[in-house]
């Protein structure tokens, strides 16, 4: 099962943790707001993505599984 990460740009505070922890999966856009790379890069484990989403200080990152259902982070 591949997880898809999404960043709510109205919530992101540009802390940069996701970009620092997984530069292949997240980057900053022109406004320095985090953005998930689509499609997600191969080789990034679900555990890593889950930890990145949990550690986002503003809670801007959500993860979606198959059929676009949201994956619980807690």
């Amino acid at each position: 099962m591949a997880l898809i990460a999404r960043v709510d740009k109205d919530v992101c505070i540009s802390s940069g943790r996701c970009v620092a922890d997984a530069p292949s999966a997240f980057h900053f856009d022109a406004d320095e707001i985090a953005e998930a790379v689509q499609p997600p890069p191969p080789g990034l484990s679900e555990e890593t993505l889950l930890n990145i989403a949990r550690n986002c200080p503003s809670g801007a990152i959500t993860l979606q599984g198959p059929a676009e259902q949201e994956v619980p982070l807690d």
């Binding site: 919530v11 505070i13 503003s58």
Partner: protein, 407 residues
């Protein structure tokens, strides 16, 4: 006529606190009494105003910058600061912690000390202690109005002596960059430079820049200084009862970092977080705060929540195991929009299971604390530590220690 009653709701669980910190309709309330320093600074902003400034300032708080600070700039500053005390064989940790962290915070904030004299640093230290007092005025036991006047006057004097010349140097550097005389990498890597480059975008009047830089100075110096003293206190007690760990304190920075995180969990810089409810707010657990009400986050209880930290939550234990998604420092750095911007700089990155110790960022407090154990830090049996009586916050007022080999 009596003032209207404000409903105060206190949360004490980790889940409620995390939810509250991330709630967009809960606005910062912790620094209402400290406006003399804290008005319009980053941690007091909300909504778009906050997000725009945070995005600008975050450019100075990225991992590549931390790498430069931790591996190159901070060790040299630490050596210079410690040298006279190592020579003397003793020091008060409270004073040393603030002096050391002030030197590091001045670098990150962008405050120059062109004279390079001890007297100049002492003046900056004295100003910083007043700004710390201003920001934490809510917990002061002194005459608050009198202290407010004194701190405002100090802010103006500090601006004239330190801030204005530092700004002038950076404006000159930015003009030279625009003229092609220097390149990007020649610019100072500090928050003041970043702010000056964005002054027009952010519409920052001079008095706001003044308070913002004062806040960065006090926040960087104060929170790290208190963590520095408390960490050494906790580690000294730990190795008394766990002597097998004494070598790790000197040789294993990952172990020292775990001690720092555990110290910060048990001793949050502010014992509470506070938020104003902008609308009727209901947390996921069902806790309700009416519009205009105040939410108090009891961080001492939150960081000792047994549902998260287990039955030994109140104990110092650097070997503690944690559930996924929980930081080893609890919520001491806050969360949501106001999560501490300097968290990774001060306490380092939380190590992954497959951490590379050579590439890892341990944080400036870890580096400074480990350095003290290299220098043989131990309590002075003739001078026991004393609490600070001028504040209701649990600070050490004095903590004398000895350095060097035991005679």
């Amino acid at each position: 006529m009596s003032a209207p009653t404000v409903e105060v709701v206190t949360v004490r669980t980790f889940a409620d606190a995390k939810d509250a910190y991330r709630h967009k309709d809960l606005r910062q309330a912790l620094y209402d009494d400290g406006e003399v320093v804290m008005a319009d600074v980053l941690v007091n902003l909300h909504g778009r105003e906050h997000r725009d400034r945070r995005r600008v300032e975050n450019r100075s708080f990225r991992r590549d910058t931390f790498d430069l600070y931790e591996r190159e700039l901070f060790p040299a500053v630490t050596d210079r600061t410690l040298a006279p005390y190592i020579e003397a064989g003793s020091v008060d940790l409270v004073h040393l912690g603030h002096e050391l962290m002030l030197n590091l915070a001045a670098l990150t904030a962008g405050l120059d000390r062109p004279q390079g004299t001890a007297e100049e640093t002492t003046r900056l230290y004295d100003y910083t202690m007043l700004f710390i007092e201003g920001a934490t005025l809510a917990h002061s036991t002194l005459d608050k109005d009198e202290r407010r006047r004194c701190i405002h006057a100090a802010l103006l004097e500090w601006d004239e002596e330190f801030l204005a010349p530092s700004m002038a140097r950076r404006r000159t550097a930015l003009a030279r960059l625009a003229a092609g005389e220097i390149v990007e990498s020649d610019l100072p890597k500090d928050v003041l430079t970043t702010l000056l480059r964005s002054t027009e975008d952010l519409d920052l009047p001079p008095e706001v820049i003044r308070r913002e830089v004062a806040f960065l100075l006090l926040a960087g110096a104060h929170t790290s200084a208190t963590a520095f003293v408390r960490s050494i206190d906790h580690i000294l007690s730990w190795v008394q009862t766990h002597p097998q760990d004494a070598p790790k304190v000197v040789d294993d920075p990952l172990f020292v970092q775990r001690c720092i995180h555990e110290t910060v969990r048990l001793n949050p810089s502010s014992p509470v977080g506070q938020r104003w409810a902008l609308t009727d707010v209901t947390l996921k657990s069902g806790v309700q705060v009416p519009a205009g009400g105040k939410l108090v986050i009891d961080l001492a209880a939150v960081n000792r929540d047994p549902a998260v930290f287990g039955d030994t939550a109140a104990d110092f234990d650097p070997y503690r195991s944690l559930p996924a998604g929980v930081g080893p420092f609890g919520l001491s750095f806050g969360g949501g929009m106001h999560v501490c911007i300097g968290q990774d700089l001060a306490a380092g990155v939380v190590p992954a299971a497959d951490v590379d110790p050579d590439a890892h960022l341990y944080g400036l407090v870890t580096g400074a604390v480990q350095r003290m154990f290299h220098e043989g830090v131990r309590r002075d049996p003739e001078n026991p530590p004393q609490r600070d009586e001028a504040t209701a916050r649990p600070y050490w007022g004095t903590y004398p220690v000895l350095l060097g080999a035991v005679r």
